[in-house]
């Protein structure tokens, strides 16, 4: 990978981290409402995966979506403004944290019903296949989503119709507070693809370069032969959402995983390759801090959506 691309990805991962750290503070100040699910610890997956896509490839994910949005090219301003419910947010303040999206970035959301966006992904991919495009749809979901009917209906259909979907399970060890082995008959999620005769792989989700390589290989398979399931092993460093008492795991376990911080791993890799020095990476982090500061200011100064949005988005076609 070119040094310039390495630096871009480093910037992106740090940006995701800093946006979320700032979002957590704003949540505690009561400026962000509803639920807030942080991606902290999992950034390498979104960054590595989406760096492998072509512009025509679609991306769709679940509610832990801030990092995915940014990796798809969404500005920190558009993310932050949506979190604060402002009209300048990507969804005009109508969706909030769990419903980020930008059609122009080929980012199809941010979906908050566990598993429900997997059928949507099948449909997005069907549209591309129908039109004869070789675009792929990348669909991310958590380990928890693999126990619901939707997962099985969507994987089955994608195989039967040979739809160009890259299914990506972000296995962060817990569906809310229930450990994978307490909720899933097989704890190695990729095995579930075997039931559908679907090629699959497992990758270290804390290593952005490993994710990138796995994504490149998987996307090539998808474009030539239909669906593929990639399981990325990861860990969320924060609770399921902001209100999580985290009684289901010990602080030792969290600390052990934090030693494998994906940003730290990537930083070491960049330095070991000699692609950039400490000073360059530090400068990038300062640039990120500036970007986040500007995003928060932008969001706070932005206006709220008006009643024309409340009453103006139900239908496209006027009645009568």
């Amino acid at each position: 990978m070119e040094p310039k691309e390495l630096l871009r990805l480093y910037h992106e991962m740090v940006l995701v981290r800093r946006v979320e750290e700032r979002a957590a503070e704003l949540y505690q100040q009561g400026k962000i409402g509803g639920f807030l699910h942080l991606y902290i610890g999992q950034e390498a997956i979104g960054t590595g995966l989406i760096s492998a896509r072509r512009p025509e490839d679609r991306v769709i994910t679940a509610y832990r979506d801030h990092g995915i949005a940014i990796s798809c090219g969404m500005s920190a301003k558009a993310v932050m403004a949506e979190l604060l419910g402002k009209v300048t947010g990507c969804s005009k303040g109508m969706g909030g944290s769990m419903h980020l999206a930008d059609v122009n970035l080929n980012f199809w959301g941010g979906h908050a019903i566990v598993g429900a966006h997997l059928p949507l992904a099948s449909g997005l991919a069907l549209a591309d296949k129908y039109r004869g495009s070789d675009a792929a749809t990348i669909c991310l979901f958590g380990d928890g989503a693999t126990n619901i009917g939707y997962f099985h209906e969507a994987l089955n259909l994608s195989k039967v119709w040979s739809l160009p979907v890259l299914w990506v399970c972000e296995n962060n060890q817990y569906g809310m507070g229930t450990a994978v082995e307490r909720a899933s008959a097989v704890s190695e999620i990729r095995q579930k693809a075997e039931g559908y005769g679907m090629p699959n792989a497992r990758v270290d989700g804390m290593d952005v370069l490993a994710v990138r390589q796995a994504a490149d290989e998987a996307l090539a398979r998808v474009r030539s032969g239909g669906p593929f399931l990639l399981e990325a092993i990861t860990y969320r460093f924060r609770g399921h959402s902001m209100g999580d008492p985290e009684r289901y795991r010990g602080s030792d376990e969290v600390r052990r995983w934090q030693e494998d911080d994906p940003i730290g791993i990537f930083r070491r890799a960049i330095l070991e390759r000699g692609a950039h020095d400490e000073a360059a990476l530090d400068a990038e982090e300062r640039a990120v801090d500036q970007e986040v500061q500007e995003a928060v200011a932008f969001a706070e100064q932005s206006p709220n959506p008006g009643p024309e949005l409340l009453f103006g988005t139900e239908f496209v076609d006027g009645v009568r």
Binding site: R58, G89, C90, S91, K92, G93, M94, G95, H99, A101, D102, V103, W108, G109, G110, I113, A116, L118, P119, L120, A121, S122, G123, L124, A125, L126, A127, D128, Y130, G149, Y150, E153, A154, N156, L157, V160, W161, P305, L309, G312, T313, E314, F315, V316, D317, V319, R320
Partner: protein, 323 residues
């Protein structure tokens, strides 16, 4: 003007729109090789091929979900649910996705999906296959719900639904497929969200839709023999609900009966009568009557099933109550 069945009218609408727009495709259980379990898509597979007439697994969640996704991406899916009772298997996709994807993302997504579903009792299919739960779906903002009662309206409204940009649930009554009616040879397009006077009258207003429209028209015919002229209004669309012709009629007749096949509690009758009272209380000459299904799960036994379903006599009796 040709006389055709409801089945033919719906089939023609689908055929014509598929000929007209390559983005339109059909998916569902047995829509292709089989030709549709109610034979609506007979011949489509041979004409349009497997890409545009897609047989699916029996998996309603992903049928509607994939249709939603394809619609978001710019296609115009027509998803068939063999019966509306199976819509409960896809309830999350219908109410949490079809109906909400547009508003929830600030208007950046459009979801031009048409879900065709077969509703209604009277075919001895037992309690889970005989429901008329139309009103449940009309509860949710963001979803248009159409339930035609004549071949003409079925054709015109289905074509309008397919051409539109909004998610539509198009409800076909299982026992209306053989109902005949006049449909013009030329293009038929009917506006969504507009109620229609199907029979003019001066003495009482009967408000109905779908199967109960036909039942109400029969009741009106019999009442006419006694010199009672009932005005029969067909809602046609349950959401958005057009009350204008109803209120206009009620202000002339001062009496109303609302006839639906679903259960009375929280039903169409409750909604429509409340709106009449809100808009025209000063015009009320008699308490509004509601005709509906008995509040039981429908039995298999033919006589008991018919006992539970609203009949022509029930509508006539309700009219007598308000006169």
């Amino acid at each position: 003007m040709a006389i055709i069945t409801m089945r033919e009218a719906i089939s023609q609408a689908l055929w014509e729109e598929m000929e007209r727009d390559e983005r339109v495709f059909i998916l569902g259980e047995e829509v292709g090789v089989w030709g549709g379990t109610y034979a609506v898509t007979k011949g489509f597979f041979d004409r349009f091929g497997a890409e545009r007439v897609r047989d699916t697994p029996i998996a309603e969640g992903v049928i509607i979900g994939a249709a939603n996704g394809a619609a978001m991406a710019g296609l115009k899916p027509v998803a068939e649910l063999m019966t509306i009772n199976f819509a409960f298997m896809a309830m999350d996709q219908i109410v949490n996705h079809s109906a909400k994807l547009r508003a929830m993302f600030g208007g950046q997504f459009t979801v031009p999906i048409v879900i065709r579903a077969v509703s209604g009792g009277g075919r001895q299919l037992g309690a889970t296959h005989s429901q008329t739960p139309d009103v449940i779906f009309a509860h949710f903002p963001g979803l248009k719900v159409i339930a035609p009662g004549t071949p003409h309206d079925a054709k015109g409204l289905l074509k309008a639904a397919i051409r539109g940009q909004d998610p539509v649930l198009f409800i076909e009554h299982a026992t209306l497929y053989q109902t005949r009616g006049e449909v013009p040879e030329e293009e038929v397009l009917e506006p969504i969200g507009v109620s229609k006077v199907q029979r003019p009258g001066r003495d009482v207003t009967i408000v109905s839709y779908s199967k109960m429209l036909q039942v109400s028209l029969q009741a009106a015919e019999r009442l006419a023999q006694e010199g009672i002229e009932a005005e029969v209004i067909d809602l046609r669309t349950l959401r958005p609900l057009d009350m204008e012709p109803v209120i206009e009629s009620f202000k002339r007749t001062n009496r109303a009966v609302i006839a639906e096949e679903g259960w009375r509690s929280y039903g169409i009758g409750a909604e429509v009568s409340a709106r009449i009272y809100e808009a025209a209380l000063d015009y009320v000459d008699a308490p509004i009557q509601r005709v509906a299904q008995k509040e039981v799960p429908l039995p298999y036994n033919r006589e008991l099933e018919q006992m539970a379903l609203p009949q022509v006599e029930d509508v006539i009796q309700a009219v007598r109550e308000v006169l």
